[in-house]
């Protein structure tokens, strides 16, 4: 996660950026490198993004509006929002707790906890979905019990929320841990010496110190929660108007030759990505200005 590092270093060492050129390569070398990266960037990132919007509006505004307000699309939007609304706060609480424990305390099994947090990054989303089928499916470990009590987990909303939570577990904790570790424990120790309770230390010292990184983590979690395809696809059952999230709905539309509608709905997700990027830059900019204030 290079982004983590960037945010981390910004907090850690209030760098003074040099205005003087730091390299001595000839101009043509610099410019050709820049040109290569711009070409790459436009070809692989910008062009597809533009295509999404061009295709979305290919048949005019009214078709676009129909595609995103149609009943199944609307239900997919709602389900995506519900999944995010549940998994993001839960992962926020879990992420903060885990990061706090890992960064500020020493205990046995700390490495194991760290590894577990990273697990969703290394496990393929399809496996993440299948885990829940094996646990909660009709022939899974808890299947008979769930059936007796008439509870539905997979092929229903709870399964989708679980799968979403699984894949988004690492984001908040991974944002916070390097920052919290770099900040050290001195401020907390001072607070404890001054007689503050554990809660008080957390709310008044720890949390304010990490709030921007935390917000950043939440934004990333949210983006992933809304965009997740693989894990959700396995547990969804693909019931139209009921268990399809936005990414699944896009696939369905595409497979039904409704290309314009597919891109129209895809543009919603693309817009979410753009908003995420905007929010991220805003947060980074805020962080920088906080640092500047500290320096002067």
């Amino acid at each position: 996660m290079s982004v983590v590092n960037i945010v981390g270093t910004l907090e850690r060492s209030p760098a003074i950026f040099e205005t003087r050129a730091a390299t001595s390569e000839p101009a043509w070398a610099k410019w050709s490198l820049i040109a290569v990266s711009i070409a790459f960037f436009s070809l692989f990132l910008l062009l597809p993004l533009v295509v999404v919007f061009v295709e979305a509006f290919a048949k005019g505004w009214s078709l676009y509006k129909d595609a995103v307000t149609e009943a199944d699309a609307w239900s997919a939007i709602k389900l995506t929002l519900i999944a995010a609304a549940i998994s993001v706060p839960l992962n926020l609480v879990f992420g903060v707790a885990a990061a706090w424990a890992i960064a500020k305390f020493e205990f046995r099994g700390k490495q194991i906890l760290l590894t577990l947090i990273d697990l969703p990054f290394s496990v393929s989303p399809v496996i993440a979905g299948l885990i829940y089928v094996l646990l909660f499916g009709a022939h899974g470990w808890f299947g008979p019990w769930l059936k007796e009590n008439d509870l539905k987990i997979i092929f229903a909303v709870p399964g989708i929320v679980l799968a979403t939570m699984f894949v988004t577990v690492p984001f908040v904790a991974r944002e916070l841990i390097p920052l919290m570790q770099a900040q050290g424990r001195e401020e907390e120790e001072a607070a404890v010496v001054l007689g503050a309770s554990g809660w008080r230390v957390f709310w008044s010292v720890t949390l304010p110190n990490v709030k921007w990184a935390l917000l950043y983590g939440v934004i990333l979690t949210n983006a992933r929660a809304m965009g997740e395809f693989g894990a959700v696809s396995v547990v969804s059952g693909h019931i139209r108007g009921q268990t399809n999230t936005l990414p699944l709905h896009i696939e369905i539309l595409y497979n039904e030759y409704q290309f314009t509608a597919a891109f129209a709905v895809a543009s919603l997700l693309a817009m979410l990505a753009l908003v995420t990027l905007g929010a991220k830059s805003l947060i980074e900019w805020r962080q920088k200005s906080v640092l500047k204030e500290l320096q002067s």
Binding site: I82, P89, H139, K152, F155, V161, N255, Y257
Partner: protein
Amino acid sequence: MQSRKLLLALGSSLGLIFASSVAAQTTLLNVSYDPTREFYSEFNAAFAKQWKAKSGESLSVKQSHGGSAKQARAVIDGLEADVVTLALAYDIDAIHENGGLLPKDWQKRLPNNAAPYTSTIVFLVRKGNPKKIKDWNDLARAGVEVITPNPKTSGGARWNYLAAWAYSLAQPGGSATTARSFTKSVYDNVKVLDTGARGSTTTFVERGIGDVLIAWENEALLAIKELGPDKLEVVVPSLSILAEPPVAIVDKVVDKRGTRKVAQAYLEFLYTPEGQRLAGKHFYRPRDSKIASEFSKQFAPVKLVSIDTVFGGWQKAQKEHFADGGVFDQIAVRK
């Protein structure tokens, strides 16, 4: 205090989910295979209208589509389908065998082997047929790229495979050995194995990969309707297989949900003139000969063989060809 608010918000959003699953309206879930999407979305509306007129109950039929075997797997794992409308009998047999959600004799409960419409396997080629593909033997030629889905996950793909096998068997001097080497040379030409029929169609039509798509007749005709006859054409081989996509009520589910009556009426509606006509409109061959004759222009006459006579039924075909280590696994091994 903030944490309490958070809990409250969580609680209410959870409540919202469970509330939304308790619907006021009667719902049916039809778990189907890939190419029936368009057909069932129109059929569902027609049936809901008829059901409302008959019983006064407003009904909403939900659809789920995917590769046939994958869909059967989901029902076995607990996807609560009131009815299943899959690509082949073996996949419904699997639902009986794993968990007994429906009885063994399900196929006898409705007319025509519980298959209200049939289809067959044809070829879709690019306009003008640049590779001159006329029959199955052209698919085994060197330099022809073939697109078909994976028989492990897709029902249509299994029909495709068996049709190729049956063609070779029917040639002069045809035997299991020649059929095997013929089918192997066809699959050696396969470039992409998607998981479902629709995925393969998209690969062929949208991504422009391959020279020929082995496809359901209905899927091929739909692709032409959607994307224009100026891009694609259908080639009907000299011999193909009679595909009977069957339908069934999932007993354990309808009894639990109290939907048996409406589910039964739903499947029976498939056999009425209106249901048959809708099937024909969406390029399935209607069983009702009178309705079928209305669509005679759409369906080219083709010599059809049935799986029961050539392969001894689905159970046997499945074990021999598609089970782990079966003939398909043996011939699909790449050199």
